[in-house]
Symmetry: C2
Subunit: 313 residues, 2 copies
C-alpha cells in the first residue's frame, strides 16, 4: 500500500550541473504517475530502476520546455521497448502541436501504442477542479494555477476505502455473510425478530485515504489553498527566495515564503519545495525561509522520496 513521491528533476527553467528539469514520479499502491517530463526524465527513471513501460499516465502542468522536453525521448523509448498499452497524457491543449510534430517527424509507423491526449479544461476558474483520472482506488484532479501560460496543478487522492466489519462482533451477534454484505454497503440490517444492526456500529473505515498535491509553476493566488486543503503532502515550487519577490512576481513564480504560506493556509501535513532557480548552488536557505512559516518543510533533492504512511483506524 505504497504512497510516495519521488523527485527526479528539481531545476527551474535552466538546468545546472546537478539539477535536471522538472520530473517526478508518484507511486500510489504500485501505480506510477509521471508528473511533468523535463529533459532526461527517461534516464532518471532508468537510474531509479523504474520501468518506463509501467507508466500509463503522464501529467504535464504546462508547455514550457523544462516541463515537457523529456517527452520526445520517453515516448520514443516506450515505442522501442515494444509498448502496446495505451498511454494517456493529461496536458493543456498546447500539447497537441507537440505530439503532432513528434509523430510526423520522428515516429510514424515505429510506435505500436496509442497516445491519448486528455486535454485539461482551460475554461476552469481559479478554485475549481476537474476530475481527470479515476481507478478503483484513486482519483486525480487538475486545477488552474497562475503562470505566464495556461498551467495546471494536480491533486491525487485515494478514494475512501470500503468499510470493514468489526470482526470481534461477528460471533457475539451471529452475523451471517449476507448481513455482512449489507453492513459493508453502509445499510442497516433489520432482522425478523425486530433487531436492528446499525452499519455504523458494526463497521469501520480501515484506513485514512491519503492525498498529494502538485503546484508548479505558479504565483501565489487567493483560491489555491482551498483546492489543496489538508493534503498529506504538497509539492510546491519555490523558484526564488523572498529577497527576489519582485522577480517572482514578474515571472509568475513563487518564493519559498509564498509556498510556505500556501501550505499553512491549506493546512497540509508536509511541504516539499522544488523548481529551484539556477542561481542557487545550495538551496538550504529556501528551506529555512519556508520553515519560519511552515516548519514541516523539506527540499526536493534529486532522487529524494517522500512516503505517506498508511494510517489504519
Amino acid at each position: 500500500m505504497d504512497f510516495n513521491f519521488t523527485t527526479l528533476g528539481t531545476a527551474s527553467a535552466l538546468p545546472t550541473n546537478s539539477r535536471y528539469p522538472s520530473a517526478h514520479v508518484l507511486n500510489i499502491r504500485g501505480r506510477l504517475f509521471l508528473i511533468d517530463c523535463g529533459e532526461a526524465a527517461q534516464i532518471l527513471l532508468f537510474r531509479k530502476g523504474i520501468s518506463i513501460l509501467k507508466i500509463d499516465n503522464i501529467f504535464i502542468s504546462h508547455l514550457h520546455g523544462d516541463h515537457c522536453f523529456g517527452l520526445f525521448g520517453l515516448l520514443s523509448s516506450m515505442g522501442m521497448k515494444g509498448r502496446t498499452a495505451k498511454l494517456t497524457i493529461h496536458a493543456p491543449v498546447e500539447l497537441k502541436g507537440m505530439l503532432d510534430f513528434f509523430m510526423r517527424a520522428f515516429e510514424g509507423d515505429a510506435m505500436n501504442y496509442e497516445i491519448e491526449h486528455n486535454v485539461l479544461d482551460a475554461t476552469m476558474k481559479k478554485g475549481e477542479m476537474q476530475k481527470i483520472f479515476e481507478s478503483r482506488n484513486i482519483e486525480a484532479f487538475a486545477f488552474p494555477l497562475n503562470h505566464r501560460v495556461p498551467t495546471f496543478g494536480f491533486l491525487f487522492r485515494e478514494k475512501e476505502p470500503a468499510p470493514n466489519v468489526r470482526k470481534e462482533l461477528l460471533e457475539p451477534y451471529g452475523i451471517t455473510l449476507k448481513e455482512i454484505a449489507i453492513l459493508k454497503r453502509g445499510e442497516d440490517v433489520c432482522r425478523e425478530d425486530g433487531t436492528i444492526l446499525a452499519s455504523k456500529d458494526f463497521t469501520y473505515i480501515p484506513f485514512r485515504p491519503r492525498s498529494f498535491a502538485y503546484c508548479s509553476d505558479t504565483a501565489p493566488f487567493e483560491k489555491l489553498a482551498q483546492v489543496i486543503d489538508s493534503v498529506d503532502l504538497l509539492y510546491h515550487e519555490a523558484t526564488f527566495a523572498q529577497d527576489l519577490k519582485g522577480t517572482a512576481q514578474t515571472t509568475f513564480h513563487s518564493t519559498a515564503k509564498d509556498a510556505a504560506e500556501v501550505a499553512l493556509k491549506a493546512n497540509v501535513k508536509k511541504l516539499v519545495l522544488g523548481h529551484f532557480s539556477s542561481r542557487y548552488v545550495s538551496v538550504e536557505h529556501l528551506r529555512d525561509e519556508a520553515r519560519e512559516i511552515f516548519p514541516n518543510t523539506e527540499l526536493a533533492e534529486r532522487g529524494a522520496r517522500f512516503d505517506i504512511e498508511l494510517e489504519k483506524y
Copy 2:
C-alpha cells in the same frame, strides 16, 4: 593548441542508466564544436564545465531522436543565458521542420539570437565530401554515410600552417625581412648577384596538421575509408558485436569488427568506438573484438577525452 574529442553520450537509440544518447564535443585550439546533440547534452556540458555559449557550431549527423532531441533544451537555454551570437547548425534538411516547430511552439520572441541552418547536401554520392565550415585554421567537411535515413559523417582538420623560416640560416645568409616574406609565401628569392634562395631550403612547416572524423550511424560501405583516410582519430559507431552482424545489417549499423576494418583500411591512427546497444551492460568485448583487427582502439566512455598531441617538425 588543443585538439581533443570528448564523449558525452555513448548510447545508441535507447539510453540506459549509465549511457546518455549521442553527444560529443570537439575542441580545436579552443574552438568548440558540438557533434550530435542527444537528450541531456546541455546538462552533460554543464557537468564538464563547458559554457554552452562558447558553442557556435553544432553538427547533427541525422534526424533520429537519439542524435538531436537535446537541441530543444540546449537552444532554449542558450536563449535564457542571453545568447546574441549567431548559432550555425550543420544538419540534414530534415532539421528544418524541427526548428520551425521549436521556434513556433516554444520560443518565439524569447530568443535573441539567430539560428542558421546549414543544410547538408543530400545529393552527394558516397565517397564525396562537402566543405561546411572554414576558419583561419580549421576546415570541416560533411560526407554521406549509409543509414536508414539521410545521414552524414564529419571530417575536421587543421589547415596546413604557414611555413616558418629556418632561423639558423637567417644570419649566415644575411636574409632581409623582405626576403623572409617572399620565402614564407613559398616563392624563391633571386638576388641581384644571381644567388637563388629556394623557399623549400629555407622554410619548414612548423607542425603537422591534425584531423578527426566522426562516423555515426552507418553500415560499412566501400568508399568510406577514402574520405577519412589517415585521420589521427576516428570516432566510429559500434552498435553491435559481430555475433549480431545480421541485426547490424538490417538496421544499417556497424559491428565493432566493421569499425575496426574501416579504421585499418583508412590507415587512421586511433579508433574510438561508441553508440553502444542498450543490450550491453559492459562493452569491453566490443573493444576486444575491434582490437583483433585494429589494436589502437578505445571505448568512448562517458566523459572520456581523447587528445591529439601537436607534433612539431
